[in-house]
Amino acid sequence: MKAGRLKPVAGAELESLASVASRLILAGRLGRVFPDPYLCSDYLRALAPSFHGGAHAGVEVDLGSGLPGMQHLVDVWADCRSAPDFIREMEHRLGLGRSLPPGSAARLSYYRRLVALDLKPLTRVAVALRRVDREAASAFFEVVFDRFDPAEQVFVRHTLMLEQAESGRRGALIDLAGDYSRQTSELRDKLEKFAGDDSEIAFLLMGRLPGVRVEEVVRARIGPLWSEAAPAPEGWREGGCVLHLPVDRASTSLREDRDDDPFSGIYRHFLSEVSRSIVEEEARRLGYRVHKDRKFACEATVADGLRRKLAEAGTRNLIYTV
């Protein structure tokens, strides 16, 4: 599902969209392979008119993802950055007994609410050392890459388990000094480049890097969201809101491929026979298999219909309702 046209949404419609989207995210029982559900939910809540009190006009919803376009989330983060200074300045004025400039009272309330959310940036890379194998001169890392995907316009988290040898050499993804790991620009470059598609592709591309052995790549997304603003495609239309929560995992710990995602297939299965055999050979060499899964969070009224459609599609999927 690629990003599509934009649809302006404002007022009561935006209020309802922001509310249901944030509730669906929290209902989806999202573990740590997913983008932080509380953070994503808070970003969407901050776009509701009742939250920002008119500080923003409406938003443009991406019809492909059903979520507000990236620029609106960036606006929220920008507001978050400027909020402390604004609050300080206005509180100073109030402390001196001066009145607030017109329109500032609503913005002050909005900024106070925003600061209370304690938001973090949506794009983040975190590297954690898991263990060091002194004998093999290699180290094992967990890399978590969060972003709002500019192509798909959905929240995405990639979690990579990597083993890297000789971290001191040129072109290393992660520098290790004692127990402290530092991500290099090389790592960011590679993540940006390889993380735009299936976890399997990222696995294959990362697995070719010298000195790197990939154990697992998990991509988990929040979105798309079917709603009145961005309805489901033909054949899936039931009305109501449905949030997709897809996960695809390429891992050496898996024994077989499994695809329970009715909207996406395993990468290798779409290749020509020639290409497929090459990739299959590579998959065997790297020792990974792929699982694709997709769970849903939806309004209770549409759960039965969705369940029926999924059964028709022949996949087994969890559905959570609000």
């Binding site: 573990g31 954690a128 050392l129 898991r130 263990r131 127990d179 699982h291």
Partner: protein, 565 residues
């Protein structure tokens, strides 16, 4: 429909291990730890009680990765085997967490879990055996249910203890944890609390795998806490670093297998090295800033006459033990003597070196005054060290300033406020005149006699009838070594300063209207009797001098009252 696939005795699940969990509710910590390690964002602890059957259900459910059959068989059911060994991003290491659920002596333990499209249920009627079922219904994460038959009162007690236990072990968890006792009703409560110190932390630090909060403490045994991913490993009171309390969450910390302590291995030392580094490098400048702020505010209040704020003194006092460690040792004060940490009554804080300079002016005496009263201000103007009283006085009076003596400014010095003639009432003015006349007639024992206000703020002479001073109205020591005026030579004579507000002075002013000689006689006699001690060995001489002086004084007084004959 569940299909039973395996019935087996659990190998290695031994009674001894069950018994090692002396707290029957320790399973909460173990299960929550497993849930966090499984990558959960939220963990729900739910308690229920079936009134009909008397069976309680304790459950812990997460949204983590769950387990497939391989993990169940190869790790979950195998004692001392963990998928997390040596992994710095995981808390659990020993593979004994499951055993803890049997310490409650339950009727049944049931585990529901799923991963990779497989859903499983495991029933443990006891720690000796289990039944494993493949389940058709899909699910996510892991749910552990513990069923135990209990009396209602026992359930109520366990429910209360459960919340306390979960709070103690998990309140700083990085994963959200809710607790709900459905029998008691109400919404689930959030167990998590901000990672902080009582009274707030002075320093927050985070680096890969470690987060710390540090603060200053006045306690001889400050608070400490060790955590991994926010789960409590050990808390207590111990002087790991004098004057410093801290909590540390670190990937380096883990429990001993008995769960009653932190494993003090190489990793523990790495964690403590981080604390030590921060204590050494980051806390001193913070201490300086915070004590300077507190001292500045205390000084400001004293200078403007405001009442002292006990919270500010407490803040200073809490930091004193750490300051003590910085000031101890041969070279410890190098570059620290200019820290302005000691509140003076002038409104600014002074440093140790400034105090040392001032002490050379005050003959090694450090003065204390609660506010910038007349005496304190005059002393400070002279360059004497006058500090607001507080916990710093003891420290300074001890080793920091090499055993200086500390005295209260207002009881050590006096400064009566001379009253100009124009401000005196007529009766007193007349009395003063007669006193001068009579004093001159009886040998001029005083250089002059004046009236003054003794009742100034902080005065230690408010009740005194008079004082003698070398300069009337000047700042002078209360305990000046002065001999009786009867021994004074011409040059050593002092001024007598009367307390204008003293009842005796007032009453004699009235008497003076009718009998000026008598009034002046009585007052001067009082002055002579009490204006200084008799030098040792001169009692006889004093007696002669007193008789002579009294005779002259009486004669002059009578002359005055009778009029010239």
């Amino acid at each position: 429909m569940a299909a039973r696939t395996t019935t087996a005795s659990v190998p290695g699940l031994v009674k001894d291990l069950v018994d090692q969990f002396s707290d029957p509710l320790a399973f909460y910590r173990e299960l929550i730890q497993n849930s966090i390690d499984a990558g959960s964002n939220r963990i729900d602890v739910v308690l229920e009680y079936d009134e009909k059957t008397g069976v309680a259900r304790f459950s812990v459910e997460d949204d983590g990765e769950g387990m497939d059959e391989r993990i169940i068989d190869d790790y979950f059911l195998v004692l001392f085997r963990s998928t997390k060994e040596d992994d710095l991003t995981k808390i659990g290491k020993f593979g004994v967490g499951l055993v803890s659920v049997f310490s409650l002596r339950p009727e049944l333990v049931r585990v529901h879990t799923a991963k990779a499209g497989e859903s499983w249920r495991l029933d443990f009627p006891s720690f000796r055996r289990y039944d494993k079922y493949r389940v058709a219904a899909m699910r996510e994460g892991t749910l552990v249910e513990i069923f135990k038959k209990l009396e209602p009162a026992a359930y109520a007690r366990l429910a209360q203890d459960s919340l306390k236990t979960v709070r103690f072990w998990c309140r700083y968890s990085e994963t959200r944890i809710t607790f709900q006792d459905r029998r008691a009703g109400g919404e689930p409560v959030m167990v998590n609390e901000p990672f902080d110190l009582p009274g707030g932390a002075s320093l927050r630090h985070s680096e890969e795998g470690t987060e710390l909060v540090l603060g200053f403490s006045a306690e001889p045994k400050p608070l400490f806490g060790f955590y991994n991913k926010g789960l409590t490993l050990k808390e207590g009171f111990h002087p790991h670093f004098a004057g410093v309390s801290f909590r540390i969450k670190s990937r380096y910390l883990e429990h001993t297998i008995t769960r009653d302590n932190v494993l003090e291995d190489d990793n523990y030392r790495k964690a403590m090295d981080i604390v030590a580094r921060l204590v050494e490098e980051k806390l001193p400048p913070l201490l300086r800033q915070e004590m300077k702020d507190a001292a500045g505010r205390i000084a400001g209040r004293a200078a403007s006459g405001e009442a002292p704020d006990p919270a500010l003194s407490a803040a200073w006092e809490a930091r004193a033990p750490f300051l003590k460690t910085l000031f101890s040792g041969r070279f410890a004060r190098w570059k620290r003597s200019d820290w302005r940490l000691f509140p003076s009554v002038t409104g600014r804080a002074l440093s140790l070196s400034e105090l040392e300079d001032a002490l050379s002016e005050s003959d090694g005496v450090l003065y204390a005054a609660a506010t910038a009263d007349r005496v304190a201000s005059a002393l400070a103007d002279r360059g004497f060290p006058v500090l607001v009283p507080g916990p710093w006085m003891n420290e300074l009076g001890g080793s920091w300033l090499g055993g200086v003596s500390v005295r209260e400014a207002s009881s050590s010095f006096m400064q009566p406020g001379l009253l100009p003639e124009a401000k005196l009432d007529a009766a007193l003015r007349a009395l003063l005149k007669t006193l001068s006349t009579l004093d001159a007639a009886s040998g001029a024992k005083y250089r002059g006699i004046a009236a003054a206000d003794f009742d100034y703020a902080g005065s230690c002479i408010a009740d005194r009838l008079f004082v003698t001073q070398a300069e009337p109205g000047a700042l002078s020591a209360v305990d000046e070594p002065v001999a009786s005026s009867l021994f004074s030579l011409w040059r050593s004579r002092r001024h007598a300063v009367l307390n204008a507000g003293h009842p005796f002075v007032r009453s004699l002013s009235k008497v003076h209207a009718d009998m000026p000689g008598l009034a002046a006689f009585m007052l001067l006699k009082s002055l002579h009797l009490h204006d200084g001690p008799v030098p040792v060995g001169k009692a006889g001489k004093y007696s002669n001098l007193a008789e002579k002086a009294e005779g002259r004084l009486l004669s002059a007084a009578l002359k005055l009252d009778r009029g010239p004959r």
